[in-house]
């Protein structure tokens, strides 16, 4: 039951001075580094982050010891170190899920048109988009569980219409189709604006980087 505001207390619990305090600190640092890193980290990289007199072998031994038998393990991969979930658990935890893929631009647009114009026939989708819609696009959206065939339109040829599903609402966190912003609302939110290319010119400043958010509070003093 940790809370973000509690971290200061936690830190105090470890000895901060003397060789043991240093070791504990180095272990924490390496632990955080390996946790947050996207790649395994080599000894040289870790050594680089520790003071010159730190004993890396000792640090890794302590850290490995700490994770011994837990759900996460410290492992040596290639020439580096990384955390991995314990292999004996993966079988138990893994749920077969296909790799997450990006939806094509055409498919996202088709989905949006079905959402906004439903019930809508394929011919109507094509006329709205101004391009032919490949059969595959609707199939993809149907496989994803986002659209399904609706009633047939009572017009010559009785074409099939398409509507969105409950799965669609769930995925996009909508309670009903009615919650999709209308065109005026999209405009008001700025989504219909073509941002003028000129504002994207480099402003000649680089201070928009991380850490600048604190300035928000500074600015307030000028009131």
């Amino acid at each position: 039951m940790r809370d973000v505001t509690e971290h200061a207390d936690n830190v105090l619990e470890l000895p901060r001075r003397g060789p043991e305090g240093d070791l504990a600190h180095h272990v924490r640092l390496v632990e955080a580094l390996l946790f947050a890193s996207a790649e395994p980290l080599e000894d040289a990289v870790l050594r680089d982050r520790l003071p010159p007199d730190a004993d890396l072998a000792r640090v890794m031994e302590c850290l490995g010891e700490h994770y011994r038998g837990r759900g996460v393990q410290l492992v040596r991969v290639a020439k580096g170190w990384a955390f991995r979930t314990a292999p004996d658990l993966t079988a138990q935890l893994r749920i077969e899920t296909p790799v997450v893929r990006k939806l094509s631009r055409a498919a996202v647009e088709t989905l949006a048109i079905v959402a906004y114009h439903q019930p809508v026939t394929r011919a109507e989708i094509e006329s709205i988009r101004g391009v032919a819609t490949s059969k595959g696009t609707l199939d993809t959206l149907m496989e994803a569980g986002w659209i399904r065939p609706g009633r047939r339109r009572m017009t010559p040829g009785r074409p099939l219409t398409w509507v969105t599903t409950k799965g669609f609402l769930d995925h996009f966190g909508l309670a009903s189709i009615d919650e999709l912003p209308g065109v005026e609302e999209l405009k008001a939110a700025g989504l219909l604006d073509s941002r003028p290319a000129i504002t994207t010119l480099p402003g000649g400043r680089a201070e928009e980087l991380t850490g600048e958010d604190q300035d928000d509070t500074d600015d307030r003093e000028s009131f």
Binding site: F35, A36, I95, V100, K102, Y116, I128, G130, S222
Partner: protein, 268 residues
């Protein structure tokens, strides 16, 4: 400001009585001015004097107009409303009056200011919190497959709305090219401004000192510098002002051209 992000606004050193006016361009509206003036009363927002506030605001609008700054209609509407409020506060209450009383109106305004102030503070506190990716970090190498993922495709609501908006823009645009009104400073504006200002300045002034204050967008700032420089050349060509510069990259001085002082004869 177009995309909701901004560069650091230039700080203004001036703290004169006219500080409000100098900052006019960085105000977002009359409520902004009122809030700042209320803060300047250096008392709890629940105890500000609405009457004093109304006076300060009316004075501000008056001074700003004397400097012939173009005030947005919003500022004038608020001024008119505050003048009305002031009269309601000063005149005795009429029995048969069905309108809200001056006190009620004043209380509503005070509430509006306190609420806005509260939200500004809340925004500040929010931004002062720890930010993910800045103050702490999540797992750098998440292991997909262990975590529940009910969907195959990674599409957010924003992606969906953006796609529809882009489609709308493309089709409803009717193929015509829309060019957004530019926010850049034009030379015509600069000429009008310089002419106006030089009329009030008797001696030499640096070009830098004549640039408009309170611009935030760096692009806008640069365009205003360029526009004013071009405007000064144009005005000099027309014989309406004189230019002086001590050397390359030195400040450019200018003053209005009058035959009386024109005979001192500096080169351009």
């Amino acid at each position: 400001m177009v995309d909701g992000f901004e560069d650091t606004p230039p700080r203004l050193e001036e703290e004169s009585d006219d500080a409000f006016i100098l900052r006019l361009e960085s105000y977002e509206g009359p409520i902004d001015v009122l809030l700042e003036q209320a803060r300047d009363q250096k008392v709890d927002l629940t105890r500000i004097s609405i009457l004093a506030l109304a006076d300060q605001y009316l004075g501000f609008v008056e001074r700003a107009r004397r400097l012939r700054l173009e005030l947005a209609a919003d500022y004038l509407v608020m001024a008119a409303w505050l003048a009305y409020l002031k009269s309601r506060l000063l005149l005795p209450e009429r029995e048969d009056d069905e309108e809200p009383s001056g006190e009620e109106l004043a209380a509503a305004l005070a509430f509006q200011l306190r609420r806005l102030e509260a939200m500004r503070d809340a925004g500040g506190q929010l931004m002062a919190r720890m930010h993910l990716w800045r103050d702490w970090f999540p797992r750098g190498a998440p292991e997909d497959g262990l975590v529940v993922r009910s969907n195959v495709y990674d599409v957010s609501l924003y992606d969906l709305l953006k796609a529809y908006a882009e489609h709308k823009r493309r089709t409803d645009g009717g193929g015509a090219l829309h060019i957004e009104a530019s926010e850049l400073y034009s030379m015509d504006m600069a000429i009008a401004r310089l002419t106006e200002m030089l009329g009030r300045i008797p001696g030499w002034a640096t070009l830098a000192s004549l640039l408009p204050r309170g611009l935030k967008d760096p692009l806008q700032i640069r365009s205003s510098i360029a526009a004013h420089f071009l405007a000064s050349l144009e005005l000099a060509r027309e014989g309406k002002l004189e230019l002086r510069q001590e050397g390359a990259f030195q400040p450019i001085y200018l003053r209005r051209a009058e035959r009386a002082i024109g005979s001192e004869g500096e080169g351009g």
